[in-house]
């Protein structure tokens, strides 16, 4: 019991010469080696981890509000302004739809596939709906939306935000 208490306090009394006795000594030698390896690895990787976290913190702090808010979206939205404008223009209780097409300048390979996903996340609580009056056009053919489409924002990349009449 005294030994157990000492062990639990982290100050075991150890007879090193017993480390080669089978099986208890070998097991204890293994424990010492295991802990040494864990400690060594922990220390090496601790330095790397704190370095990496420090870099991450610096990068995050250096970003502006928009970059931080868009974060993952920066890889696909092409420009931040259209979605900001959409958020400002579309009332929270209205629905919207994203219509995509090939006409977006500087689109990434993710833009057409995921812009509707990202808009859904970014514009909540506005709901997506296939027949919504509000349209975010990502390089789509505006003529296909009909005569009643009123563009409230058009940018040089080929992105429009607007609404259909009625």
């Amino acid at each position: 019991m005294a030994h157990d208490r000492a062990a639990a306090k982290g100050a075991p009394k150890v007879d090193v010469s017993s480390f080669l006795e089978w099986p208890q000594g070998i097991a204890r030698l293994g424990v010492v080696l295991c802990t040494t390896v864990a400690l060594g690895c922990s220390l090496v990787y601790f330095v790397k981890a704190v370095d990496r976290l420090g870099d991450t913190a610096r990068t995050n702090a250096a970003q502006n509000f928009d970059d931080r808010e868009f974060a993952g979206g920066n890889a696909l939205v092409v420009a931040n302004r259209p979605l900001y404008e959409a958020r400002a223009l579309i009332p929270e209780d209205e629905t919207f739809r994203v219509v995509t097409g090939p006409g977006v300048a500087n689109a990434t390979e993710l833009t057409v596939s995921f812009i509707d996903h990202y808009a859904r996340y970014f514009l909540m609580p506005r709901r997506p709906s296939p027949d919504a009056r509000w349209v975010i056009c990502y390089g789509c053919d505006l003529a296909s939306l009909g005569d009643g489409f009123e563009a409230l924002l058009e940018d040089e990349a080929g992105i429009s935000v607007g609404r259909l009449a009625g």
Binding site: A7, A27, C34, S42, K48, R52, E69
Partner: protein, 461 residues
């Protein structure tokens, strides 16, 4: 990303601790306030699990989800714990003797853990939402709960992975309520709290059972693994699942050795929460229970009925969510090939196992954690311990087999999986075993050192 948001999170997590303290009082109690200080992490994680499960049930039952609902739910949980504790006649705690003196090495290691958490907090504080799954469906589900006060039919059926359980979105929605907005930047700090709570819980449970050097060495080793450093703050369910699973597995291990009812009861709550966090939580929970059944076969008359009851309890907590998504015609929970469909794809078996093993033992992601687990299990066996190494070997073995089954049966996954770790599904699964190692390896090595399963216990009931 405001001070208000940070204060909101501090309030939420203090509230979770209060709820957990009430539950802990009912399940176990504490004789001294120092004992509660040691178990602060256990109380907090019990609060997180209890709130997560209860809020999921609230959502499923259609009760409007608001700040008042969160507060009321937590107060009911804490109240039930307090009443049970009073009913069991727990004595009023006293201040008691202070904590035992800590050696220099252990203090230095604990200090490194503190430095690590400081660095992690700075990284979390202003982090943008980059993780694809996080902005694709985890956070949108949380936003839907926050904005619409429940499981909105449209969003919960249209968002990807509709059958994934809502425990983490419910916790994130709670964070939004406490922050006062959908501040997805500060939300990362919530996941800092969860990791800190997990480490504190493991430390609280093991502090009286294993030498501090063992405890902090392996906690630090798991914390500094590159994958943990890079991904633990992401506002999605992967690491939350791992913490809940690891605590359930640790408490079951302790119950196998010490037979304290509160350990099994707490494990039941953590198992239920594990199953409500991600669908693979069911697989992990099954592995833990199966391993506990096998490891307790010598005392099956007393152990198996209790384990059976705990399993039924955990399943009962998870079932309402299943009823909800089945009644809403949502699918995707199980592989398209079905359980027997494996036989039609025998050629996938070996590459699936390869994928699992290469991810689990990838030193670039996990350093040497899992190789050390194997050595620790072997050393415990050699030294004469039986229950603990059998249990640990089965948890890890069954989980690796289960992950292989998952990859094998989801035939839409190309095998062997050689994707980047950012999108590799097996790496996410393997994380659960690495996180578990922080809790189990110190126990295994302590058993190996002393040549017996029974852990040394100081001031522990």
């Amino acid at each position: 990303m405001t001070v208000r948001s940070l204060l909101g999170l501090v309030l939420l997590n203090t509230f979770a601790f209060g709820v957990g303290a009430g539950l802990l009082w009912g399940l176990r109690g504490w004789r001294t306030w120092w004992e509660l200080a040691r178990l602060i992490g256990v109380a907090y994680m019990l609060g997180v699990a209890g709130l997560g499960v209860a809020l999921t049930l609230v959502l499923v039952s259609g009760i409007p989800f608001s700040l008042a609902t969160i507060l009321l739910t937590g107060l009911v949980l804490a109240g039930v714990g307090t009443v049970v504790g009073r009913g069991l006649g727990r004595p009023r705690p006293v201040l008691g003797a202070g904590p035992p003196r800590v050696g220099l090495a252990a203090a230095a290691l604990a200090a490194l853990v503190v430095v690590y958490f400081e660095a992690l907090f700075r990284a979390a504080r202003l982090s943008g939402l980059y993780a694809f799954d996080a902005w694709s469906f985890w956070v949108p589900k949380a936003k839907a709960i926050y904005f619409f006060g429940g499981l909105d039919e449209q969003f919960f059926s249209e968002l990807p992975n509709a059958t994934y359980p809502p425990l983490v979105p419910a916790l994130e929605a709670s964070a939004f309520h406490f922050m006062g907005s959908t501040d997805v930047v500060t939300l990362h700090v919530q996941f800092w709290f969860l990791l800190a709570g997990f480490v504190a819980a493991v430390a609280g449970l093991l502090a009286t059972r294993v030498p501090p050097v063992l405890l902090w060495s392996f906690a630090l080793l798991a914390l500094v693994s590159p994958r943990v450093v890079g991904r633990t703050l992401e506002p999605q369910a992967d690491f939350t699942l791992d913490y809940l699973f690891a605590l359930a597995a640790l408490l079951l291990a302790l119950w196998l050795l010490e037979h304290e009812p509160w350990q099994l009861a707490s494990a039941t709550l953590f198992l239920g929460a594990t199953m409500l966090t991600k669908r693979e939580g069911q697989l992990l929970a099954a592995c833990v229970v199966a391993a506990a059944l096998a490891a307790s076969w010598r005392e099956w008359r007393s152990a198996w009925p209790r384990l059976g009851l705990a399993s039924v309890g955990a399943i009962a907590l998870a079932l309402p969510w299943r009823f909800w998504y089945v009644s809403h015609d949502l699918t995707g929970e199980f592989p398209e090939s079905g359980v027997t469909g494996l036989l039609d794809h025998l050629d996938r078996a070996w590459p699936s196992l390869q994928s699992v093993l290469s991810s689990a033992f990838d030193a670039g992601l996990w350093t040497v954690v899992l190789p050390l687990v194997i050595v620790a299990i072997a050393l415990a066996f050699i030294a004469g311990a039986r229950t603990l190494p059998v249990y640990a070997a089965l948890v890890y073995g069954l989980a690796l087999a289960g992950f292989t089954w998952a990859i094998w049966s989801f035939t839409e996954l190309e095998v062997p999986i050689e994707q980047d770790e950012a999108i590799n599904p097996v790496v996410r699964l393997a994380a659960s075993l690495v996180v578990l190692s922080a809790a189990l390896v110190p126990l295994l090595l302590d058993a190996a050192w002393r040549g017996t399963d029974g852990a040394a216990r100081l001031d522990e009931r």
